[in-house]
């Protein structure tokens, strides 16, 4: 009897273990179809559907749950003494979905492709400092930089730097072959794309057998699909939608601080904002905490006009409060004793902009700054208004600290929206990049952010918290920003 029950127990355990290990169920997600008919699966193209590429492809380095670089296809890395040469040791035994083994040649091909001027990928600027890419042997990749850069692994966590098979550049947009936990079964950007589990994934078989990525352009329709249980997860909820889900029950909600920020740009090349005292005065007159409460229901983090995200390891912890008296004094010093008149250009492109502009108008009025709100059309905002008028609204997505400071504030950069040209600031950034010691590097980045607080022209209103709603049947969804989620860990009931 004992032997029999022992065998039975072992048998049941075996069945249970295999049952648990098998991927099961379907997870459904919606995407915006932001690029309409031009959507494809090429990770570096403008029309990439990242909801698909992030699950079927892998990067060399992925963002860990704590924000620090974690191994993905590269298992370890090291740099030379002055951080101009980086060597990456790659994972062995990984195969692409078509059976081809992954080697350094594929990684080199993928990165070289990003740099190809003919392809003109928006991701080119991300690895602009890489001057040479060498596949030293099948498991070693060497990157040579044009200038010292201590944080290269963090840069490689960019969601666009996915590894594709060597030579697949022309077909990747429709095949989507990668090394990720899911394989493409059907791709239809405007309808439903179907992904199936890749049971040979190096980090273990995924928890779900199937993922459906459904194209729903309208935000309200996406929310209704979540309510009607036609999709299982929706990021980017508004505060009102969150309340509705709370009351309905059957959903889990996550509030995740992100590096996405919304702000007001004072162009430093246009009068009167070419005077640093005027810029400082306007920025001192703003009460960012109140603005966050009014525009986004408090779902965010405020700082002192630093573009660096709240969970970033380099963020300056400086705090600052509204100071009307100091603002008035600075304006008087700059030659505006009776206050300042300005026009702020707002579109409904971004949901929080109108509320932000109105909060701004009310707050700075106390310092004698009279703001007129000019509404401009959403269509053509980026080409006709942004970077062209003295005061405009802006929004930025999450980036590592170095990218956030360089792309927006270094002299002469394409998206330097405030026209900020300061050689001293550029030198600070260069100094930080070449500093290999973490503590000293952090101090330099903080110094650069504090410099922006004194001299910059951009008011960083707040960094937004991402509200994510998921059906209760979804388990093990990492509570982090989208590109750090480990999709293969999700299970559904």
């Amino acid at each position: 009897m004992n032997k029999f029950s022992g065998v039975l127990a072992a048998l049941l355990l075996g069945v249970a273990v295999t049952a648990v290990a098998q991927p099961k169920g379907t997870f459904r997600q919606a995407h915006e179809v932001g690029f309409g008919t031009a959507s494809d699966m090429d990770p570096i193209s403008r029309g990439r559907v990242f909801h698909v590429t992030e699950k079927v492809m892998s990067r060399l380095v992925r963002p860990g749950l704590d924000g620090k670089p974690a191994p993905d296809l590269a298992v370890s890395w090291s740099a030379n003494a002055n951080a101009t040469e980086w060597t990456f040791k790659l994972r062995e035994g990984v195969r692409f979905h078509n059976g081809k083994p992954f080697t350094a040649a594929d990684a080199a091909y993928s990165l070289k492709r990003v740099q190809d001027p003919k392809l003109d990928s928006p991701a080119r600027a991300a690895i602009g400092m890489v001057s040479r890419i060498d596949a030293v042997d099948p498991t070693t990749l060497k990157l040579t930089l044009s200038a010292p850069f201590a944080d290269l692994p963090l840069i490689l966590t960019d969601y666009r730097l996915m590894v594709i098979p060597e030579g697949s550049g022309d077909t990747i947009k429709s095949t989507g072959i990668g090394t990720g936990p899911f394989k493409v079964e059907k791709f239809d950007a405007q309808g439903t794309s179907v992904l199936v589990a890749n049971t040979d994934y190096y980090d273990g078989a995924p928890g779900v057998a199937r993922m459906e990525i459904i194209g729903i352009p309208d935000a309200q329709a996406r929310f209704q699909a979540l309510l009607g249980k036609q999709i299982d997860m929706m990021p980017g909820l508004t505060a009102q939608q969150k309340t509705l889900l709370d009351r309905m029950g059957g959903f889990t909600l996550q509030e995740i601080p992100t590096g996405n920020w919304r702000g007001i740009v004072l162009h430093t090349g246009m009068k009167p904002f070419d005077d640093v005292r005027v810029r400082r005065a306007v920025r001192l007159a703003v009460d960012r905490k109140a603005m966050l409460g009014l525009a986004a229901g408090g779902a965010g983090t405020v700082g002192c006009d630093t573009p660096v995200g709240p969970r970033d390891q380099y963020r300056s912890t400086r705090t600052c409060a509204q100071d009307i008296a100091a603002a008035k004094a600075l304006l008087a010093q700059a030659g505006y004793p009776n206050g300042l008149d300005m026009e702020i250009n707002v579109a409904t492109l971004e949901a929080v902009w109108p509320a932000m502009a109105e909060a701004f108008q009310q707050q700075v009025a106390a310092a004698g700054i009279r703001v007129k709100i000019v509404t401009v059309p959403t269509d053509g905002y980026w080409s006709n208004v942004w970077m062209k008028r003295p005061v405009t609204m802006t929004r930025w997505n999450d980036r590592p600290a170095d990218s956030a400071l360089n792309e927006v504030y270094r002299s002469g950069m394409k998206w330097n929206e405030s026209g900020f040209k300061d050689a001293k600031f550029d030198a600070m950034l260069d100094g930080a990049r070449s500093e290999l010691n973490f503590e000293r590097r952090r101090a330099r980045y903080v110094e650069a952010q504090d410099y922006l607080w004194e001299n910059g022209g951009t008011i960083v209103g707040f960094h937004v918290n991402l509200l994510v709603g998921a059906a209760s049947r979804v388990k093990n969804l990492d509570a982090v920003e989208n590109f750090s989620i480990r999709w293969h860990k999700i299970t559904v009931d």
């Binding site: 690029f35 309409g36 008919t37 031009a38 959507s39 403008r46 029309g47 003109d120 928006p122 239809d188 405007q190 309808g191 439903t192 459904i214 729903i216 352009p217 309208d218 309200q220 329709a221 209704q224 699909a225 309510l227 009607g228 249980k229 036609q230 309905m248 059309p377 269509d379 053509g380 980026w382 080409s383 006709n384 942004w386 394409k414 998206w415």
Partner: protein, 319 residues
């Protein structure tokens, strides 16, 4: 009769041509073009110039319009500005979906509209008429997206009987659209039923008051044959025009419903194409919709001529 048809067809062609010119001008007049729509923040300097040269947007507007007209006359509708897919395929699939949705809405709405309208007119001012008329006014005045959202909330979120959003691809076979097509068809049917119902009801009431009906009553014709043979044929004539306009609206103009339900039809395609400044797609859709309106109106007029002998003699005499 023949001369009438030919004249109407020529006028119709002129209308379609004029519409295409106006639509082209209107989309051109919007700020930005296809390149600023694709490139967004990158739409500056050399990159913008390259994009414009590649898409042919650096040529003057009249030249591009002329080229498009030439293409259409040859049967070549062109390619979509984004993604360079042939337009005939994209628009064809969407048109089929719109026809399917329109067809379902008509199948649900027409019998209901005529049935309720006739019943309401016959039971004038009694409880049936009052209920039906108030219901019709409510359905007409409440915006479609409000009724759509309420229906989704009730039937999808609370009861879970029907799916709320359409998740089927644009080129899926028509059978795949059920049951997701039911809620949008119901909302559309609600709106169109209200309009048609009120027209049917008022024209029925007018005819019921007519002298020849009174004559039939006096002659002793029983109620049912009187309604069927004398009242209905006359009362339903004005309804033909309303039904025609409704069909045309269903096929080309239900953008709001398509957006709310995520239905892959012609309306949503148009809105996407306009915001992408994809002129070729917008022009093709404008062509199809205006041709549909012209054709349906012509069919309605001809049907009225056929159904109403009184009009026929006047026309044949004039031509």
């Amino acid at each position: 009769m023949f001369k009438l048809i030919v004249r109407r067809l020529l006028l119709g062609l002129a209308t379609v041509g004029l519409v295409s010119l106006i639509i082209f001008g209107a989309v051109e007049a919007l700020p930005g073009d296809a390149c600023t729509a694709i490139l967004q923040q990158d739409a500056q300097g050399q990159r913008l110039a390259n994009c414009r040269a590649e898409l042919g947007l650096d040529r003057p507007a009249w030249s591009r319009y002329g080229q498009w007209v030439g293409g259409v006359l040859r049967g070549d509708l062109g390619v979509s500005t984004h993604g360079a897919q042939p337009i005939a395929g994209i628009v064809g699939a969407r048109l089929q979906n719109s026809l399917l949705l329109g067809g379902c809405a008509l199948a649900l709405g027409l019998p209901l509209a005529f049935g309720l309208g006739i019943a309401a007119a016959l039971q004038r001012d009694r409880w049936l008429d009052v209920t039906v008329s108030s219901g019709a006014i409510a359905a007409m005045t409440i915006p479609e997206f409000v009724s759509a959202t309420v229906l989704i909330l009730v039937f999808s979120a609370w009861l879970g009987w029907l799916p709320g959003i359409v998740t089927v691809s644009a080129d899926a076979p028509w059978t795949r659209f059920f049951p997701e097509i039911l809620l949008p068809a119901v909302v559309l049917a609600m709106v169109m039923t209200a309009h048609i119902l009120r027209t049917v009801r008022s024209s029925m009431i007018e005819v019921l008051d007519g002298e020849f009906v009174r004559m039939a009553t006096l002659k002793g014709v029983p109620h049912a044959p009187r309604v069927l043979r004398h009242v209905l044929p006359n009362a339903l004539l004005p309804a033909i025009n309303v039904v025609a306009l409704t069909i045309a609206w269903l096929l080309g103009g239900v953008v709001v419903i398509e957006t709310v339900f995520n239905y892959p039809g012609l309306g949503r395609l148009t809105v996407t194409a306009i915001s992408e400044r994809d002129l070729a797609v917008v022009q093709t859709v404008a062509l199809i919709v205006s041709a549909l309106y012209v054709a349906i109106n012509l069919a309605a007029d001809l049907l009225t001529l056929v159904a109403n002998p009184r009009l026929r003699t006047a026309v044949t005499r004039a031509s």
